[in-house]
């Protein structure tokens, strides 16, 4: 069986200004990122014939999406052969996985992929919004659909509550502790110091972490990512058309898009993990590379525990061993066994929602991380995004 995604390559990346509350037009941020990615690949907008995004134009939580397919298509007057936007897919990076499939099957040659958020500005100066309490309950509207109807009436207003229950179960079965989990957050903050675009760059100590206010046990403030404004984009090209472009192409070695358990925050068979278990398993089913071959891993940390779950699922440590593995931070540091979240992740870098991880994987493979560059000329990277019922990942290799 040919692994068709190897016909796809990452050829360019772009990012807008990123900030806590920029107060800028989210479409303008989106277009800044898109045009930067197109130029980075050495292409012009006329050569873009595919467009893909997550979650697309929709309602939902304030600032959750800054632009949909139609917005970008029309703003850049693109001439498209293939396009898609939507939320029912294997996590945020599902939009990129779809783009790989599109170029592999010849439906498109150069696909512009983007994700845009403006949650920082949209949520204003108040506390972080809970799902369904902004527009919903307060006005007497009722929750509908399994996800909302079976969570909100139980005052579980946020993924912070839902994922905290996965973490709690992991703590129970494997003896994981807050003192261990803390290192996901501390590592992210250390790396953010080397990222000029990161939101929080001041040092974070274990004491700071342990004395922070609790959000939803076992999570404290520093286990939760930080809403921000910003857009991220990348170009997925046909590998056979990528070689003449500006950069050395980053071949897509394998993708993981599986969800074999139930698609639910609370009904998944193993409460110590989530959909990402299946996506990670599929990734390794499609390549001869092994976890030990990976030089850098950018792992979704919407909540700290999700990154720990990705570490286990991707086989960087054993199932249940994530706590001891990250304890002390040495193994996951920039010069460690498997450097993770080299740009500060979403915990310190800002909640760019999935695409930031793939962007950073490319930065590292192209050797442009500057102060945060992983040493040793990394050639293989994994980018993974999503928690709960969302999970998708890509393994990239520089030729």
């Amino acid at each position: 069986m040919e692994i068709l995604e190897r016909r796809a390559a990452l050829t360019g990346i772009g990012q807008s200004e990123v900030g806590r509350r920029l107060g800028r037009d989210p479409l303008e941020l989106t277009l800044d990122a898109c045009l930067a990615a197109i130029a980075d690949a050495g292409l012009s907008p006329r050569e873009i014939d595919g467009l893909s995004t997550y979650p697309g134009g929709m309602g939902g939580a304030p600032g959750f999406t800054g632009a949909g397919v139609t917005d970008v298509h029309d703003a850049l007057r693109l001439e498209l052969n293939w396009y898609t936007g939507g939320i029912e897919r294997p996590g945020q990076l599902g939009a990129v996985i779809d783009a790989c499939a599109a170029v592999a099957t010849g439906l498109a040659t150069h696909v512009l992929c983007f994700r845009s958020v403006w949650e920082g500005t949209a949520q204003g100066k108040g506390g972080r919004a809970g799902i369904g309490v902004g527009d919903g309950g307060g006005r007497g509207l009722r929750a509908a659909g399994a996800m909302m109807e079976l969570t909100l009436p139980f005052r579980a207003y946020s993924a912070a509550n839902w994922i905290a229950m996965n973490a709690q179960r992991h703590f129970h079965e494997y003896g994981t502790t807050r003192e261990q989990l803390a290192w996901i957050a501390i590592n992210a903050r250390r790396n953010a110091a080397g990222n000029p675009n990161a939101i929080y760059r001041d040092p974070l100590s274990l004491d700071d972490y342990l004395s922070a206010r609790l959000v939803s046990t076992p999570f404290c403030l520093y286990d939760c990512d930080v809403p921000c404004d910003g857009a991220t984009a990348m170009i997925v090209s046909r590998a056979d058309r990528a070689r003449d472009l500006r950069r050395p192409p980053l071949r897509v070695e394998a993708v993981g898009s599986a969800l074999r358990g139930r698609p639910s925050w609370d009904q998944f068979d193993d409460l110590t993990t989530m959909a990402l278990r299946d996506a990670a398993k599929m990734l390794w089913e499609r390549t001869d590379l092994r976890p030990a071959d990976v030089d850098v891993a950018e792992l979704y940390d919407g909540f700290s525990f999700i990154a720990l779950a990705w570490l286990e699922a991707l086989g960087f440590c054993g199932v249940g061993e994530g706590g001891p593995f990250v304890d002390g931070g040495a193994r996951i540091a920039r010069d460690g066994e498997i450097p993770i979240n080299t740009n500060g992740g979403q915990l310190s870098g800002g909640r760019l929602h999935g695409f930031g991880f793939l962007h950073e994987a490319c930065v590292q493979l192209w050797g442009e991380g500057g102060a945060r560059q992983v040493p040793g000329d990394p050639r293989v990277a994994v980018a993974a995004a999503g928690g709960g019922p969302l999970g998708g990942c890509l393994l990239l290799a520089r030729e």
Partner: protein, 138 residues
């Protein structure tokens, strides 16, 4: 009622009213397949095990075990009772028959995985929210 915390209420439909209104008679109800006996949650028109459509509404004992939980401290909405306990409980009737809920009528700090609990209903308008409290088992 004035001291009860705010709740977003569910939209009741033909498909889910057995679940949200069974509490009026003190019954926690789910769909059950009459062919193979599988309990189904959330409701679906087809049995996920044998794909039969011959489903009935049936009551469970209301006994369950806390599979996991979290104590919510974050004031998503103002409430008099932070932290409060959100849990996923597994009903005695079937492995994997789970429900997100709140554990009530006990100190939040006493909630733990493996805790035995029993359903108790809180009426809000036209729905009966299934919550769980510590079980008294002989």
């Amino acid at each position: 009622m004035a001291d009860l915390p705010f709740r977003v209420l569910p939209r009741v439909t033909r498909a889910n009213e057995h679940f949200w209104r069974g509490g009026a008679e003190g019954r926690l109800q789910f769909l059950r397949c009459t062919k193979c006996g599988t309990w189904i949650h959330p409701p679906s028109p087809v049995c996920p095990t044998c794909y039969a459509k011959e489903l009935e509404v049936a009551a469970v004992s209301g006994l369950a075990t806390v599979a996991t939980f979290t104590l919510n401290h974050q004031p998503w909405v103002p409430a008099p009772d932070h932290p409060y306990a959100i849990a996923i409980v597994e009903l005695d009737e079937q492995r994997g028959l789970r429900l997100m809920t709140n554990i009530v009528n006990c100190p939040a700090e006493s909630v733990h995985i493996g805790m035995r609990v029993h359903v108790v209903f809180e009426q809000r308008e036209d729905v009966w929210i299934p919550l769980f409290e510590p079980a008294v088992e002989s």
